[in-house]
């Protein structure tokens, strides 16, 4: 299972790539394996303000649907429209082409709540 070093994580299995005020959000390799074959994705509207831990997107497999939570508060500045057409990209490249959206974060201090690679590694292995 792939857990890149340069990312931060959440307990609900989202990853966050931080680039100053802008962050990219996706789901982890672990999450996509658990969900199995992803068939449909619903993403938040562009420009929407989201609050930390609020459900903002839905990822669906054949027999299940999973809420995806905002890892941080902020404004949606980009959504990955490619995965709306090809949801399997999330299974194939969860950390690259399969990202979900980009967020302009409201409060830089929120970053402190995110998990480090080590913490996330621990979380997944304990399961």
């Amino acid at each position: 299972m792939n857990i890149p070093n340069d990312l931060r994580y959440t307990k609900t299995h989202e990853w966050v790539k931080i680039n100053e005020q802008e962050v990219t959000v996706g789901i982890t390799d672990f999450a996509q394996q658990e969900i199995t074959d992803i068939v449909h994705v619903e993403l938040p509207d562009l420009g929407k303000h989201v609050n930390i831990n609020q459900p903002v997107a839905i990822i669906e497999s054949v027999k299940s649907a999973f809420d995806i939570y905002a890892p941080l508060s902020g404004e949606i500045i980009k959504i990955n429209t490619l995965i709306l057409e090809k949801p399997e990209l999330i299974n194939k490249f969860p950390y690259l082409d399969g990202y979900l959206f980009k967020l302009k974060i409201a409060n830089i201090n929120d970053l402190n709540v995110l998990l480090s690679v080590n913490d996330y590694q621990k979380l997944v292995t304990e399961r």
């Binding site: 449909h40 669906e60 054949v62 649907a65």
Partner: protein, 444 residues
């Protein structure tokens, strides 16, 4: 009698396997003091006894020559439809969850969906809903989820049964239901424009409407789109052989009742609603949907698909609470629609118009009868205003085994419809039946 099959020996063997002495021991968890001594139901009957009894009950119903519609219609049902729908392989199968063992039902529903799309010129149909009324409800729910606003404009010329059902579903959900008044029986562009705003979720217009009139759907839909609202068309599927389709005027969702497509009137049920929409709204649809796929050998097959929308997976967040589809009635519609050919289906619609128009012309030329809405275009229903007592008219017609027009003064308590009645004439009515109707009306 019952339909169990065990003899004493078998039963004792089974009890022994379970490890108990009598069947009673299987009900141990049930509070003893509440177990029934007696069930207050009559003794059982044999088939023959049942038939005699039911024939006697059936005699209390009267079969009439129908000039009444208002949502349920007397249309011809081809023999093939009955033959297929009565096949036990369709009738006694379950919801096709095990796709490989249910290809018959699945393919028939896929074909039904395809025919509904062809009929309406829209992209995606579900596998059917309870009835036309709840189909409108589901369309409104879809629009609310999509637009995230709760203001719905509804034509007052929508079938009143449907309006009542809509009110039941929405009155406690803080949805703003605003009714559009008709002008000379139809919705005027200005009436719509006065109520439309950027907050409007959807506009619901029926055509042919409750009075049988064809609305100008093109312009109503055009203005609705100007405000980025969704346009929900409530249509009689049979009328689409002739009249402008929801796809042509760019409706977002079309809904209606399939009863006229191969299901008997049956006292207003079993009914079967259809819902069909654009591709962009496919994942918002309620209920079951059948999709095409491949098996491991690459052969074509069909499955229930996009199931993560549904209640058995999404529970509180499902697109609807609906589980059932009126599968057997959808099958009837499928067999019905597949046997006419394009020309034949158009002709069927035209015969409805011709017979209704003939009747309309005859009636309005009679003394004391006039057209309520002038010479507006209608499908197979029309409203006549009369100076005579409508209840008396219907009494006399009933005496002659005719189910006369629906008395709109009774049904609506709407002052605008005082002394008005709604006639329906389908392809089932012969010229001689229509002529007798006219002769009777003449004498009143």
């Amino acid at each position: 009698m019952d339909y169990t099959s065990k003899n004493k020996t078998e039963q004792n063997d089974m009890l022994k396997t379970i490890g108990i002495n009598c069947i009673k021991d299987l009900f141990v968890n049930i509070p003893r003091n509440l177990v029934l001594n007696k069930l207050n139901i009559c003794h059982g009957n044999t088939e023959q006894e049942i038939l005699t009894h039911l024939h006697n009950v059936a005699k209390k119903n009267k079969i009439l020559i129908s000039f009444r519609g208002a949502g349920i219609y007397d249309h011809y049902i081809p023999a093939l439809v009955k033959e297929i729908v009565n096949r036990s392989e369709f009738r006694t199968s379950y919801t096709p969850y095990q796709a490989e063992a249910s290809q018959g039902t699945l393919q028939a529903i896929f074909e039904y969906q395809s025919l509904i799309c062809a009929l309406t010129d829209l992209d995606v149909s579900n596998a059917s809903l309870y009835d036309g009324a709840t189909a409108v409800v589901e369309a409104i729910l879809m629009s609310i989820r999509y637009k995230k606003t709760k203001k719905i404009l509804i034509s007052e010329a929508l079938n009143p049964e449907y309006i009542k059902v809509i009110i039941t579903y929405f009155k406690h959900l803080e949805v703003d239901l605003i009714f559009l008044e008709t002008t000379n029986g139809i919705i005027d562009n200005n009436t719509l424009l006065n109520k439309l705003d950027d907050n409007t979720t959807a506009v619901v217009i029926q055509s042919p409407n409750y009075f049988g009139l064809i609305e100008n759907m093109k312009s109503l839909c055009y203005w609705t789109k100007k405000f980025n609202s969704l346009f929900i068309a409530v249509v009689n599927p049979l009328s689409l052989g002739v009249f402008c389709t929801p796809g042509e005027y760019n409706a977002d969702i079309a809904v209606g009742e399939n009863q006229g497509l191969g299901s008997p009137m049956s006292f207003g049920g079993t009914t079967c609603g259809f819902i069909v929409t654009k591709k962009s709204l496919a994942w918002r649809l309620p209920g079951r949907i059948v999709g095409q796929t491949k098996d491991i050998k690459g052969e074509r097959g069909f499955v229930l698909t996009m199931q993560s929308r549904e209640q058995h997976i999404r529970r509180v967040n499902a697109t609807s609470n609906i589980c059932t589809n009126a599968s057997l009635n959808a099958l009837a519609s499928c067999v019905f629609l597949s046997g006419w050919g394009s020309k034949g289906f158009k002709k069927l619609a035209e015969v409805n118009i011709a017979k209704a128009k003939y009747t309309f012309k005859q009636i309005k030329s009679l003394n004391g009868f006039s057209s309520k809405f002038g010479d507006q275009t209608f499908f197979n229903e029309f409203v006549i205003k009369t100076t005579k007592d409508i209840n008396k008219i219907n009494k006399i017609l009933l005496y002659n085994n005719i189910l006369g027009p629906l008395n709109l003064s009774n049904a609506n308590a709407n002052a605008k419809l005082k002394n008005c009645m709604l006639f329906c004439v389908t392809e089932q009515r012969t010229k001689s039946e229509i002529d007798s109707l006219i002769e009777i009306l003449k004498t009143i």
